[in-house]
């Protein structure tokens, strides 16, 4: 029997993406749904993933639609075939869809939140769709919103839309666009262009910014401006902090508002001077 030796292609490409999805699911559990009376889908910020994974570039690649990163090697066409050689010269060939681009497959939606040009929110598409329709139930704008969602979710991964796109590509009328803005799915960006947004997210942003400021204040006021991560997680939160402590900790680590230092007693978070927040 001829033996086939086929080199195992970069399997870490597969595991990375499964990892990102599981990290997202973990972060989703940290989101407090009850706070918003269950009207918001669970929102995770893209930079929270940076605190869980070391390689920021690979996180970006898998979340953001990037068909232009040609300088990395594991992105090549071959990497979507995983070939495993077995004992008796058999080979199993698995083929996976391109693992990066969770957004291109329509699983994940990304939003520009508005308080920071680099802070992007990620929501699973099914959650988003369910919550938006739940919020729209009984209102006159339901039909338009449903039409928008069916157009948006499978294929589009834009963060903002301009008038031309709405009218020509999506075939919406002006009045329908007004309805979408009223329902909160679109917010005004500029004259004639709109951001994609999460309805009722104003409260989320308000609590988030307040909570982030409070947690950063806690780190800053500690002795020497530094605190062990485990100690911070155990601290009692003030009334300003509405989310879970861990949610905020992932946020400040990922946004590099605190420096992470590995010590023998665990991770130390040190406040970084020069923060605007």
């Amino acid at each position: 029997m001829a033996s086939m030796h086929i080199v195992l292609e970069d399997t870490h490409a597969v595991w990375c993406s499964a990892d990102i999805r599981s990290s997202l699911q973990y972060l989703v559990t940290l989101f407090s749904r009850k706070l918003f009376n269950d009207s918001l889908p669970p929102v995770v910020l893209k930079h929270q993933l940076y605190s869980l994974h070391n390689d920021k570039t690979s996180v970006d690649k898998q979340v953001v639609r990037s068909d232009c990163n040609k300088c990395s090697t594991w992105d090549s066409v071959q990497s979507h075939f995983i070939i495993i050689t077995l004992m008796h010269s058999e080979a199993l060939v698995f083929s996976f869809p391109r693992q990066n681009e969770l957004r291109e497959t329509g699983e994940l939606l990304m939003f520009q939140l508005g308080f920071d040009s680099e802070a992007f929110a990620l929501v699973f598409a099914e959650d988003y769709r369910a919550k938006v329709l739940q919020g729209e139930a009984g209102r006159g704008t339901l039909g338009t919103v449903e039409k928008f969602l069916t157009k948006l979710i499978p294929s589009c991964s834009d963060l903002s839309f301009n008038k031309e796109k709405m009218l020509k590509e999506f075939l919406f009328t002006d009045s329908e666009i007004t309805q979408l803005v009223k329902s909160g799915v679109l917010t005004v960006r500029d004259a004639g262009s709109w951001w994609l947004s999460i309805p009722n997210s104003g409260k989320f942003i308000k609590y988030f910014i307040k909570g982030r400021k409070a947690v950063l204040g806690m780190v800053k006021k500690s002795k020497y401006g530094e605190i062990l991560q485990t100690e911070l997680e155990g601290r009692r939160t003030t009334s300003q902090v509405k989310f879970q402590m861990k949610y905020h900790i992932h946020d400040i680590i990922g946004a590099e508002l605190v420096e992470c230092i590995q010590t023998t007693s665990g991770t130390l978070l040190r406040y970084v001077d020069g923060n605007v927040n």
């Binding site: 920021k56 953001v64 520009q112 834009d158």
Partner: protein
């Protein structure tokens, strides 16, 4: 290491492979070495450093006091302890010294007989190294932030691209001025930026490609042979206009762009901006490779001078970040290490490709040399030493037991 040597010797490996592997290992072990020092001449911060390309022996430095110093980096004394001596300086007592801070100095790329310096006193001077007198002087209307001479230019008459800034008051636009060294005149002007131009670089691959970075958040790539405007501008979102607010469309950074560096092969371009980001671009197409370096702290109001390693695989970027120098992997974006040692902000750094050393200068008037750590001597050598009766290398003489008596 031995396996690399054996493979090279027997022809299994390309000679380049050994060199690259060893260079990379050396760069990863950079640290301050108490045996290596650089003479301290400047009385004020050091703004710019340049090591000549031909021998890698002489280094130029320009300071905020207008002083220019030339150092000899080669260690001809037979001792490991070596201070890089300043061979000559254009000090404050010289008649031709710059009146204000020297922002950029650069050796003439083909020999060390000449160097060019530009400064905030609105002049650019071409110096003769022997006599330390300017052979040529170009006057401008505004502060000169940066200049650069093409390292590969052979055909064109050695055009030194000069940028000056004219404060955007009134109708004057900031321009990039190209000056010809052969004839001593100004050749042409590249228009297109709307804010002060903080950095300029010629491509090390093509002698007609030039990149400029300015405070209007844009980076333009020019072909100097063309009469019309720039070839293209770098867009951080790669044309995806939906990602950003409408004012930030088609910008390279969300703040001032103050640093530019081409990689050694000229295929990629790095830019740093005051939005605390560093971006890697494909220099042929202008697309953002989206490598994420994280937060690269950048508060510099002037240009930031950073550098890329040469001859290693993977390549490294050395960026001054506050009072330390950050080392990032070029294509992976991971932070390898922070080189701490300066007492104040670091303004410039320069990589010596032959010895894999890094020289950095900053506001504390020191130039620090970061040298790869030498390999420790093998255990075998230590044993043979002690057999000969010499002191054991591992025990510091201070800890040797010289007082307890043997009778106890």
């Amino acid at each position: 290491m031995l396996s690399f040597l054996y493979a090279r010797q027997s022809g299994l490996d390309d000679p380049v492979r050994l060199r690259r592997a060893e260079s990379t290992r050396r760069v990863l072990s950079l640290e301050l070495n108490h045996n290596r020092d650089v003479d301290r001449i400047h009385g004020n911060g050091i703004n710019t450093l340049d090591i000549e390309v031909i021998d890698g022996r002489y280094m130029l430095s320009g300071g905020s006091d207008g002083v220019i110093v030339i150092y000899d980096l080669e260690n001809n004394s037979k001792k490991p302890q070596y201070t890089c001596k300043a061979i000559c300086t254009v000090g404050r007592s010289s008649r031709h010294v710059h009146k204000f801070s020297v922002e950029t100095v650069q050796w003439y790329p083909h020999d060390t007989g000449m160097f060019v310096s530009s400064s905030f006193d609105k002049t650019m001077k071409v110096w003769d190294t022997e006599t330390l007198k300017p052979a040529e002087e170009f006057q401008f209307d505004g502060n000169v932030y940066c200049h650069h001479m093409s390292p590969v230019a052979r055909k064109h008459s050695l055009v030194a691209a000069l940028l000056y800034s004219v404060l955007a008051v009134g109708t004057k636009d900031p321009k990039v001025q190209l000056c010809d060294l052969k004839s001593g005149s100004r050749i042409h002007i590249l228009q297109g930026h709307r804010g002060e131009i903080l950095s300029v670089r010629w491509s090390p691959r093509y002698d007609h490609i030039l990149a400029t970075a300015s405070t209007d958040s844009r980076v333009h790539i020019w072909d100097v042979r063309r009469a019309s405007g720039s070839l293209f501008t770098l867009d951080q979102h790669n044309g995806d206009k939906s990602k950003t607010s409408s004012e930030a469309v088609n910008t390279a950074h969300n703040g001032r762009v103050n640093g530019l560096c081409f990689t050694a092969d000229g295929l990629h371009l790095l830019t740093t901006g005051t939005d605390d980001r560093m971006r890697l671009w494909n220099s042929a197409t202008g697309e953002n490779t989206l490598v994420n370096y994280g937060k690269v702290v950048n508060e510099s109001r002037k240009g930031l001078k950073f550098t890329v390693s040469r001859g290693c695989s993977p390549e490294f970027v050395f960026v001054p970040c506050g009072s330390s120098v950050a080392v990032y992997g070029l294509h992976s974006g991971e932070l390898i290490t922070m080189l701490r040692g300066h007492y104040n902000n670091v303004d410039c750094c320069e990589f010596h490709p032959d010895y894999q050393e890094l020289y950095s200068g900053g506001k504390d008037c020191n130039i620090l040399a970061w040298v790869p750590v030498l390999r420790q001597p093998d255990i075998e050598d230590e044993e043979t030493n002690s057999k000969r009766g010499g002191t054991h290398a591992a025990i510091n003489p201070a800890f040797e037991d010289a007082w307890s008596s043997d009778e106890d």
